[in-house]
């Protein structure tokens, strides 16, 4: 039996097809989120990769910001529950999930059975989210995927002290005007995101093993900065950005 999980985020759409609630058969990721054709394209892509027709999918669950908009879904679950479920499926030893998405950050605490016991979300603020990195990459005329490489070249981190993304933008421009090295600035930007989300994690209570999920987890610069902030190793899966969709596919399997 095949089940499909679709995670419609603020900036990307992700889909995972699961076989018999265990095996990940296919995945897709489209850089277009809620309110775009991204979800439809993600579903088309994942079906093509899995070589399946829509009628072969037993159940579809939606998650993410756009979850209520997915037509023909059999159900929907919050992205918090789906991330917890997806991470527990692949990394059962994880007790703390730090999920940084396009427009928010969440920290989830899991019990030994994988159930979410507590969570916190930042909201109403772009600082400490993927959006912050997007804005900063834009100012530095870098591609978002180049931030990690640039951060690795840093010799002396330039700290970004402003809490607010808008003020941080001015701060970065000022630093550029002062002639600081771009890698040092990028490392400071990664550290800025990590320190804000680490504070959120500490409020929940950090229990090892800690993993990062969401799109920002792909950025090794932020992962490294997060390890420094928390003083522990961060577990990372290449499936980090697909954990929500995986969780949704697991919920779809439960209900089918």
């Amino acid at each position: 039996m095949f089940t499909l999980g679709v995670d419609i985020g603020s900036t990307t759409s992700k889909a995972v097809i699961l076989k018999d609630g265990q095996e990940i058969l296919a995945t897709s990721l489209i850089k277009a989120g809620t309110g775009t054709d991204g979800p439809g394209r993600a579903i088309e892509a994942v079906l093509a990769e899995g070589n399946l027709r829509p009628e072969e999918i037993a159940s579809v669950y939606a998650t993410g910001y756009g979850r209520k908009l997915l037509k023909n879904a059999d159900g929907e679950m919050s992205e918090l529950s789906c991330h917890a479920r997806g991470v527990h499926h692949l990394l059962p030893e994880v007790r703390t999930i730090i999920d940084i998405g396009g427009q928010d950050a969440k920290v989830l605490s899991l019990g030994t059975d994988g159930r979410m016991t507590e969570f916190l979300m930042n909201d109403k603020c772009a600082a400490g989210t993927g959006r912050f990195l997007d804005v900063m990459a834009g100012i530095l005329q870098l591609r978002i995927e180049d931030l990690e490489k640039q951060a690795a070249l840093s010799k002396q981190i330039v700290k970004i002290s402003s809490t607010c993304t808008v003020f941080a933008e001015s701060e970065v421009i000022s630093q550029l005007a002062n002639g600081v090295e771009i890698p040092d600035l990028v490392a400071g930007i990664c550290q800025s995101v990590a320190s804000r989300v680490a504070a959120l994690a500490k409020r929940v209570g950090v229990k090892e093993t800690v993993c990062m999920s969401g799109g920002v987890a792909k950025n090794g610069g932020v992962r490294k900065a997060m390890e420094q902030e928390l003083g522990l190793n961060i577990t990372y899966s290449p499936m980090a950005q697909l954990m929500g969709a995986l969780g949704a596919a697991l919920y779809a399997y439960d209900k089918s």
Binding site: Y65, S78, E79, L80, S81, R115, M116, M121, K124
Partner: protein, 372 residues
Amino acid sequence: MATLNELLENFHDIACSPKKQLNAYLEQGKKVVACVPVYTPEELIHSMGLVPMGAWGADIELKESKRYFPAFICSIMQSILELGIRGEYKGISAIVIPSLCDSLKCLGQNWKYAVKDIPFIPMTYPQNRKPESGKEFTKASYERVIRDLEAATGEKFSEASLAKSNEIYNEHNAAMRKLAEVLEQHPSITAVQRRDIFKSAHFMRKEEHTALVSQLIEALSQVEEKESKIKVITTGILADSDGLLKIFDEHGLQIAADDVAHESRQYRTDVNLELESLEGLADKFSRMDHCSVLYDPEKKRAGYIVDLAKKYKAKGVVVLLTKFCDPEEFDYVMVKKACAEAGIPIIQIEVDRQMVNYEQAGTMMEAFIDML
């Protein structure tokens, strides 16, 4: 006898139309005095033949008030000033602003400059309200409010009238406590309807509200309840927004009981009618408890919320934290710890008077329900 639906519609109309209520009282030749959160000696105002009306702000865009306040301050208070500047309180004889938190003190000071046509009457409470000296301080502050009310309205105070008003307020308190118990037995009453009933109390003379609430309790006794929902306790300063409360209704949550300042916190403590009336009112304040703005070195509120959840077999506690409310933020740590020790799931949702999008609050609530 009105039907249940008629009564609920009536409560809704009153709760959503404070301006209409104000104008109706003014047309009747009554003088109205605005009462700012969290606790104002309404009994005093009522006893002088004036109509006390709650002024808890509104969900509006803040523009003019920003001239007087920084951005990071309680939006309930900012919206009260905004409404005052916009002239929404036109016709009101005075506004009583208590000193129960630092932000309220700022509101009082700003009011004097921003809304010159409505006199500001400060109500200064003591931090240590329980000792005799604290009660004397409260009583002296009440006497100052009486003098200011007399000056602003021309009405006169008498101990005998206050004794009568104290009785009326005690009766209303009892009706509201009974109502809360009855509503717990009726999950079909939505969170929005529950809000309407409690909110309307702030815009009516209490004897009128008691009569309406009594009718509602009677009408509810005729209802055979079939619905079943997940019971939760709400706690915070305010649970007013439709957008927020609809999340409860959409996700099958019932507010089994509340520790909300705008709601049940108002009705927990009665005046001891054995005492001289003004002394009795000061004594009442000394006995009020379990509230973030009432100084309590033992912070018994945390245990109170746990007991409330246990009493009503609530599955969880929803903390509706008013953004930038320091007293509530300080208490949250203790409430969270007490709930964790009692094994009661707790969620904090930050709310303010300017929220228009409740998408994230909805997501958090969904995740919370998954946890329950």
